[in-house]
Amino acid sequence: MQRVKEKAIELLRSGEVSRVLGWKTGEFFYDLTPAVFESVEEVEKGFVFSLFSGANLSKYLIAESKKEGKIAVFLKPCDSFSFVQLQKEHRIKRENIYAVGIQCDGMCDGESLRSAGCEGMTGVEDGESLTVHTLYGDQVIEKKEALLGKCQTCKSKRIVDFDELIGQQGEDVPSDRFAEVAKLEAMTPEERFAFWRTELSRCIRCNACRNVCPACSCEKCVFDNPVSGVQNKAVADSFEENMFHIIRAFHVTARCTDCGECSRVCPQNIPLHLLNRKFIKDINELYGDYQAGADFDSRPPLMDFRMDDPEPSVIYTRGGAAK
């Protein structure tokens, strides 16, 4: 992990890049902030890559790659999918970016440690399992339990696009990421409706899911536009929650790489990734396997069609659980 920081210093010192996009130390061990470093001193003082570097940095490149000079960025495998997808959508200037791929074994954050039962955390020792120092004594927890939701169902260790690699190139890994979706599909419509009402009714419309999403890159979101007629700032009816989340999920359909940032940042722990994954699962089943951001030349399923695509009535016959 130290090699990542050394690489950042090396790139700045050699003049290869003028800025580095990475993670900055916080007040605790777990509260790292995405940051741009402009000098070796800044990197030495604040750069860190650790078990808590979960934030996907690729969205910052939309703005950063349009500035003067070259910027280096560190991308974990899942981040690299977003990076490629953004290139496919012509949202970033690749020529201004020096991408360093880094391998990753899964990330944690303060909230994931808290849900694993830690409170009053003051430090951590990373090893086979995690030893968390707290105000109330030490706690040992299995790393697996403390991983971020998105890391528990990691789909790939492959870094799709990079200029340089630190560590090994990985491969797609078998993942049961659609298991939860399938479980929901197997429920009755009443149960599904009740499930989503419970989850979505917690939504406070902070828009964190949208703002962190690398696929949500509209200059002005329709839900931020007072003259759109659908701004829905006063979330006075359950309809507004449904509307926002359906439309958001639909808008990123076939562009969502399933990076899991939406669920990571949700302050209310709403499993938003289950909406996106439903679309991914449907696309895989109806139109053939597709992974957004996995390559540069495949056609996105919603910008494509086949003459013999199934009719929409397919959903009446196949029921909730597909095939």
Binding site: T33, G120, C206, V235, Q268
Partner: protein, 340 residues
């Protein structure tokens, strides 16, 4: 001082809820806690704090202020104010109790916000001392004692019992109705208080240096270069504002269904691009200015107008929930270092 066995808590809640709505923190399906209306079977959360703050009780996220019905040239006004019912909120931590004073100074000064005032009058606040403060807690930096929260009634929880101390007339009146409580000795909780204070001593930000902020610091802080770096990765979401117990900005929105118009008040966030947008445009065009607004409001503008009182209570919610982990402590520390 009264008490009740922890195993009997349910009968205490039932007695309070007998003639009023009672809100208590309960765990949701993901293990985080929220204030919910008590009903038979509700279980009190053991989390240190709720995701959303207790301000929701007086200042809900969305509130229907009034309605209009238009027929020809006639406009009929439809009253939508909730009936003035008394209610109680149990388990409010010391930080949230202080936040009510901060909100009061906004909503109860002339012109008084009557919607807020009505709920404020009808509430009985039952606070609860913090057994196990989190590392993100820093209420002590604002002179709040987590071992001795204010409110109409103050409660302490030990392993076996809940101790109950009424502080106000409202609290006394409620206590008189609760026959389930038995007398207790004030000395019983001294040990608990001492333990809480001992933990509070160890809190990493418990003695945060606030000297760079407060009254009259606007000129000094407004144009500081640090704002840019601090706000650089801010996503512009409203998480911090919506979970904050003292954020009180709102917007007015109308919903027209063709026959009637409903006027809503809803929370707004200074982090949003359309915050205080006027016909001439957005007064704070970039995220840096919006970000600065939030922290200047809490640490400089509010104290300027309110005898130096900070509009932060150190509940630590923003430290936990910010998607990029930028928060008021980092702002205070960065700016503080810059002034030294």
């Amino acid at each position: 001082m009264k008490k009740i066995a922890i195993s009997e808590l349910n009968s205490l809640f039932a007695a309070i809820a007998a003639d009023r709505k009672l809100y208590i923190p309960t765990d949701d399906s993901t293990g985080q806690s929220q204030f919910t209306i008590w009903e038979e079977g509700s279980i009190l959360s053991r989390n240190v704090n709720t995701v959303r703050s207790a301000k929701d009780s007086f200042f809900p996220q969305v509130e229907n202020l009034m309605g209009f019905k238009v027929t020809g040239k006639q406009i009929e006004l439809i009253e939508t104010r909730d009936p003035a019912e008394s209610f109680a909120v149990f388990g409010v931590r010391a930080c949230d109790v202080r936040s009510f004073d901060i909100l009061d100074r906004v909503f109860l000064t002339e012109p008084v916000d009557t919607y807020y005032a009505q709920r404020r009058e009808n509430v009985c606040i039952i606070s609860l001392a913090c057994g196990k403060p989190s590392e993100t807690c820093f209420c002590t930096a604002f002179g709040i004692d987590p071992a001795e929260p204010k409110g109409d009634v103050t409660c302490w929880m030990t392993g076996e019992a809940l101790y109950w101390q009424p502080n106000t007339e409202k609290g006394e009146a409620l206590t008189a109705q609760l026959s389930v409580l038995v007398d207790a000795d004030v000395a019983d909780i001294e040990q608990e208080k001492a333990a809480i204070r001992a933990t509070a001593e160890k809190l990493p930000f418990g003695k945060l240096d606030l000297s760079a902020f407060g009254q009259g610091k606007t000129k000094e802080l407004f144009n500081r270069p640090e704002w840019k770096a601090l706000s650089q990765s801010c996503l512009g979401c409203g998480t911090c504002t919506f979970i904050c117990p003292t954020c009180q900005c709102y917007d007015i929105q109308e919903f027209n269904n063709g026959k009637t118009v409903k006027r809503f008040r809803c929370w707004d966030s200074c982090m949003y691009s359309d915050f205080t947008k006027m016909s001439a445009g957005q007064p704070r065009p970039t995220q840096t200015e919006r970000f600065r607004q939030r922290f200047m409001h809490k640490l400089v503008y509010y104290p300027d107008n309110n005898e130096g009182i900070f509009a932060c209570v150190g509940c630590g919610r923003c430290l936990r929930k910010c998607p990029i982990h930028m928060n008021i402590v980092k702002v205070i520390k960065t700016m503080g270092e810059g002034t030294k």
